[in-house]
């Protein structure tokens, strides 16, 4: 075998080796993204009221991919950013009837149905975003025990996390609702859940 042929064979082997390593790495990366979305727990049963006075229960989460958050309308810092992010996601997924958004007020004493309606008109561009209210203690318990999100000193002490819930009412993952990178991750995970075979 001459020198050139040896070099050619060696280069092919190196490229083949790199390709194999890359294929393995890519598979691991995909696998890790799926594992990050494993079922964490199931959504508890609950009953709240939408601002149009229609009852909304955990059964409304069935067969939908839901993004849920706890907010209040007079909140100065985090909530406007969180709601703006909901708005952006709602716009980007407007062509899918699988997606819905749920905002639960942690200040039901102040957030009357009228105020929630005005808030909704400010941020929502569709009818797949529910603004729910109920008894303050009930909501506090739902947040802490049902969704494992801190709810000390409501309304100010509410969590700024978004919860991703799949079509079987399973909690899949939490995201920082005010962080752009987390919102991008949430967006990719929503696409994954849309394509997920059930």
């Amino acid at each position: 075998m001459n020198d050139l042929n040896k070099k050619l064979i060696l280069s092919f082997l190196i490229v083949f080796f790199l390709g194999t390593v890359a294929l393995f790495t890519l598979r691991e990366a995909t696998e890790s993204k799926i594992q990050n979305l494993n079922v964490l727990s199931s959504v508890p049963s609950f009953e709240l009221v939408n601002f149009n006075e229609k009852i909304f229960t955990d059964n409304n989460l069935l067969d939908k991919i839901t993004i849920l958050s706890f907010v209040f309308t007079s909140c100065p810092d985090a909530c406007p950013i969180m709601s703006e992010n909901f708005s952006i996601l709602q716009e980007r997924f407007k062509d899918s009837d699988l997606i819905q958004f749920v905002s639960i007020t942690v200040d039901p004493d102040y957030d009357s149905n009228d105020i929630l309606k005005t808030f909704s008109e400010k941020y929502s561009n569709g009818n797949n975003w529910y603004f729910l209210r109920g008894d303050k203690n009930y909501i506090s318990t739902l947040s802490e025990k049902g969704f494992f999100l801190s709810a000390l000193n409501l309304p100010a002490g509410h969590s700024t996390s978004f919860v991703l819930i799949d079509k079987q009412k399973n909690i899949r993952k939490y995201y920082k609702g005010t962080d752009d990178a987390a919102i991008m991750e949430l967006q990719n995970d929503i696409v994954f859940l849309i394509n997920e075979k059930t």
């Binding site: 990366a29 890790s32 980007r92 997924f93 696409v191 849309i194």
Partner: protein, 298 residues
């Protein structure tokens, strides 16, 4: 002896930089760019966590990104060694010394650009700059390699007559390949931006939404093929076997790249194809520099 040492360390640095471009491509293709959410540290520590995360860090992605950084450091060290040899032995050869220092500057800049990518959460312009600086770095290193190779084997290159038209076409070919890579990176960035705004788009929707210059990428690709065949034709009677071999390599690589590019459009195996599409084109950049200096009469 000293020259051989310098040549060997230049070859090692060049191979490492191509390997680094491959790993960088792997980071982009696997979506591990933000695997380490901070820079230069990876999350809380200098090394990513090995067990399952507490702070929602995906450890697999963190290790992919961390490997990229580690190879960057190794490449940096190899270029520092190259510079030490150059400073000790080639202080009077301003050419080799100058380009060695230049490669050190570029590797440092590109390391910082990698950090900026994390700080600015994968800003598409910084991504392109990171790629462009890597291409310039392999060009400089390839230049150092062929220059010192020529000094080592000066008898091989004696009595060559320069073909000016051929040299000019090689410069043109190099500019064309860099433009082609930037067009390709631009297209990829555009697809990423389209996907952000329209997460529900299918692949054909994404391609439809691309601006008109998607055709430019194909047109320039075929122009590259045409010119590389022309280069081979001009080299047909060349006395240097090495030059002819490099000529064949260039044409073969261009054909392979066109093939991989078409595969990405018509078949659904995007990740690995994308990786080799990017990596193969980066080889062309350095190899054209080598061919140019190979047939140039000093």
């Amino acid at each position: 002896m000293k020259l051989r040492l310098f040549y060997n360390s230049a070859v090692i640095a060049t191979i490492l930089s191509y390997l680094l471009i491959f790993i960088g491509g792997l980071v982009r293709v696997s979506g591990a760019g933000m695997g380490c959410p901070s820079w230069p540290k990876c999350g809380e520590g200098w090394i990513p966590p090995t067990n399952v995360d507490i702070n929602q860090i995906n450890t697999t992605l963190a290790w992919i990104e961390f490997t990229n950084r580690m190879f960057g450091v190794i490449l940096g060290i190899s270029i520092i060694i190259l510079n030490v040899i150059a400073i000790f032995y080639f202080r009077k050869n301003h050419n080799l010394l100058f380009y060695s220092i230049l490669s050190l500057i570029f590797v440092i800049i590109n390391g910082l650009l990698g950090g900026a990518l994390v700080w600015f959460e994968l800003n598409p312009y910084i991504k392109t700059a990171h790629m462009l600086f890597a291409l310039i770095l392999v060009s400089i290193l390839s230049y150092i390699c062929i220059k010192s190779y020529k000094m080592l084997n000066s008898n091989l290159f004696k009595g060559l007559t320069s073909n000016l038209v051929l040299l000019k076409s090689l410069i043109f070919l190099w500019i064309l390949i860099v433009i082609e890579i930037l067009l390709g990176t631009g297209l990829r960035t555009n697809i990423e931006l389209i996907v952000i705004e329209n997460p529900l788009f299918s692949k054909s929707d994404q391609l439809d939404a691309l601006p008109y210059y998607k055709y430019m990428h194909s047109i320039v690709g075929f122009a590259l093929l045409f010119f590389s065949i022309y280069v081979n034709y001009s080299l047909r009677n060349h006395s240097l076997l090495l030059a002819k071999q490099i000529g064949y390599f260039i044409t073969g690589m261009v054909v392979l790249q066109i093939f991989l590019g078409e595969m990405m459009i018509f078949f659904d195996l995007p990740q690995l194809t994308r990786l080799f599409h990017t990596w193969g084109s980066s080889w062309l950049v350095g190899v054209i520099i080598i061919l140019y200096n190979c047939i140039k009469n000093e």
